[in-house]
């Protein structure tokens, strides 16, 4: 399969990249290329210009005197998975990065690219040359083939790293042609599968900032896939649990579920439920059940809603158990 023709620009700084994105109207930003290039090969988009961030310098993870962890959005997923700083300060992110796709893709794909990926759907992500059907919403049409009679797009946002960063309360730095701004990670997502990322056309994610976590905490990440590897998640979940000094009373929890709708979703009921409770098996099972309540679950990639609900329950239990064990193991 061949890529369509395009021209390439190689900015040296994020500011230059932002200016180019503004000047070159039909342009796309590319870092790893593992998400954009397959779409281009399928003919789903054919930008005139590619603004390539490859070649620009990647900074190492940095810990500020206040204990904040600052990550370059251009870091590869392998680098995130193996970085000692990230493993120590944000093990949840390192775990999640290690579960993305395959080693080859983790070597190429970047943190920023993973966060800013397009939503996916079984109908949309393929070649459409020989499909004599009206286009779907994502291709400019007015129907959804995946949820028949659907009056909007139901594509699913598949990032594994976004739920982890939601749980870590991360913020992101954005550079645009108008300057720099910092937003909380959840504001990056629009809740609209047609345009999942809230960035303006001339903006790029440059840094990810993870605040310091005081106290005793543990985290867990679980991802359900049919084959085990080389797959987007059926459902994924990140869990961050803080305990009192006794190591088993939950002080607070942050739970985020991804890959079941057009954006990563927090589970506020389950988080409140866990507060002040003893983290026993029974409580974890009850919390796992609670996570599925009020969760918007879109059947996708051949999985039914009921199946995904059951998967989410079991994955939630795994992640919560791992998080609890991490706290006990950490002492």
């Amino acid at each position: 399969m061949y890529l369509p023709k395009f021209m390439i620009e190689r900015p040296e700084s994020p500011e230059e990249a932002a200016t180019l994105l503004k000047v070159r109207k039909e342009s796309r930003l590319v870092a790893g290329g593992t998400e954009l290039f397959p779409r281009m090969k399928y003919g789903l988009c054919s930008p005139e210009f590619i603004i390539s961030l490859k070649g620009s310098k990647i900074s190492r993870p940095r810990v500020t005197p206040e204990g904040m962890l600052i990550l370059d959005a251009k870091m590869s997923l392998t680098a995130i998975n193996s970085s000692p700083e990230i493993q120590e300060k944000a093990p949840l992110l390192a775990m999640a990065a290690g579960r993305v796709a395959t080693r080859e893709i983790r070597n190429m794909g970047t943190l920023g690219g993973n966060l800013c990926q397009e939503t996916r759907c079984l109908y949309f992500n393929q070649k459409h040359t020989f499909q004599f059907r009206e286009p779907c919403f994502k291709r400019g049409g007015e129907q959804c083939y995946f949820i028949p009679k659907g009056n909007k797009c139901w594509a699913v946002f598949m990032s594994d790293l976004a739920p982890a960063l939601f749980c870590l309360d991360a913020s992101i730095n954005i550079v645009g042609s108008g300057g720099v701004r910092q937003i909380e990670i959840h504001k990056l997502y629009t809740h609209d599968p047609l345009k999942p990322i809230s960035l303006k056309a001339d903006e790029i994610v440059t840094k990810i900032i993870i605040p310091k976590n005081e106290g005793t905490s543990g985290s867990g990440f679980a991802k359900f896939t049919m084959r085990g590897g080389m797959e987007f998640a059926g459902v994924n979940i990140g869990v961050f649990v803080e305990t009192e000094k006794d190591l088993h009373t939950c002080k607070g929890a942050r739970i985020t579920v991804g890959a079941i709708s057009g954006w990563p979703q927090r589970a506020p009921e389950a988080e409140t439920f866990l507060e002040g409770k003893d983290l026993t098996d029974d409580i974890i099972t009850a919390a796992s059940r609670k996570i599925t309540e009020n969760m918007k679950i879109v059947p996708h990639h051949g999985y039914t809603k009921g199946y995904l609900t059951e998967c989410l329950k079991s994955q939630a239990k795994t992640a919560l158990t791992d998080a609890t064990n991490a706290i006990i193991g950490a002492t």
Binding site: M1, I8, R24, S52, K54, T102, N107
Partner: protein, 162 residues
């Protein structure tokens, strides 16, 4: 600089230097196979799902089908053609042959490259490490068991271990 003209590029593949003019949209896979005749690297899906186009870029496995040739300048590229030295196969290749891990052979170059990178990184991998390294490689013939056995066998005779 932006241009739709071809750009002159110097590629270092298997220790040899190649100078050629490539278009922006040409992938490393296209350059290897169509321009340089290095057809050992295979194109399976072309969209990063099968692993048959795996080559080593600076010693790390990457997918040549999703890598622009222009992004490979000044980097060491290793393909399956560079694996055998003076007509002798590497321990990984020997092991694949000995253990019967090759049937149709289409996935083999990618599998060998990923296994070679794994053994360089970790000369004593356990089953989980091997599975993690080969999870992106599809094989429709062998059922994977023979491939797993081969990598374990190669690890025993891997030169850096002795």
């Amino acid at each position: 600089m932006s241009t739709n003209q071809k750009q002159l590029l110097e590629l270092s593949i298997n220790g040899e230097s190649y100078e050629l003019a490539v278009a922006c949209q040409e992938t490393l896979l296209e350059v290897l196979r169509n321009r340089l005749g290095l057809t050992g690297t295979k194109e399976g899906c072309g969209t990063g799902e099968c692993g048959s186009c795996t080559v080593l870029l600076e010693g790390e496995p990457v997918l040549a089908c999703l890598l622009l040739a222009l992004d490979c300048e000044n980097k060491q590229i290793e393909t399956i053609e560079g694996q055998s030295l003076e007509g002798r196969m590497t321990p990984v290749q020997e092991a694949f042959l000995e253990k019967g891990a090759v049937q149709c052979g289409f996935c083999t170059p990618g599998m060998v490259m990923a296994s070679t990178a794994l053994l360089k990184r970790n000369p004593d991998p356990n089953e989980e490490d091997i599975m993690e390294s080969l999870e992106g490689h599809l094989c429709r013939c062998t059922g994977y068991n023979k491939i797993m056995e081969s990598v374990q066998h190669a690890a025993k005779s891997y030169p850096e271990k002795s």
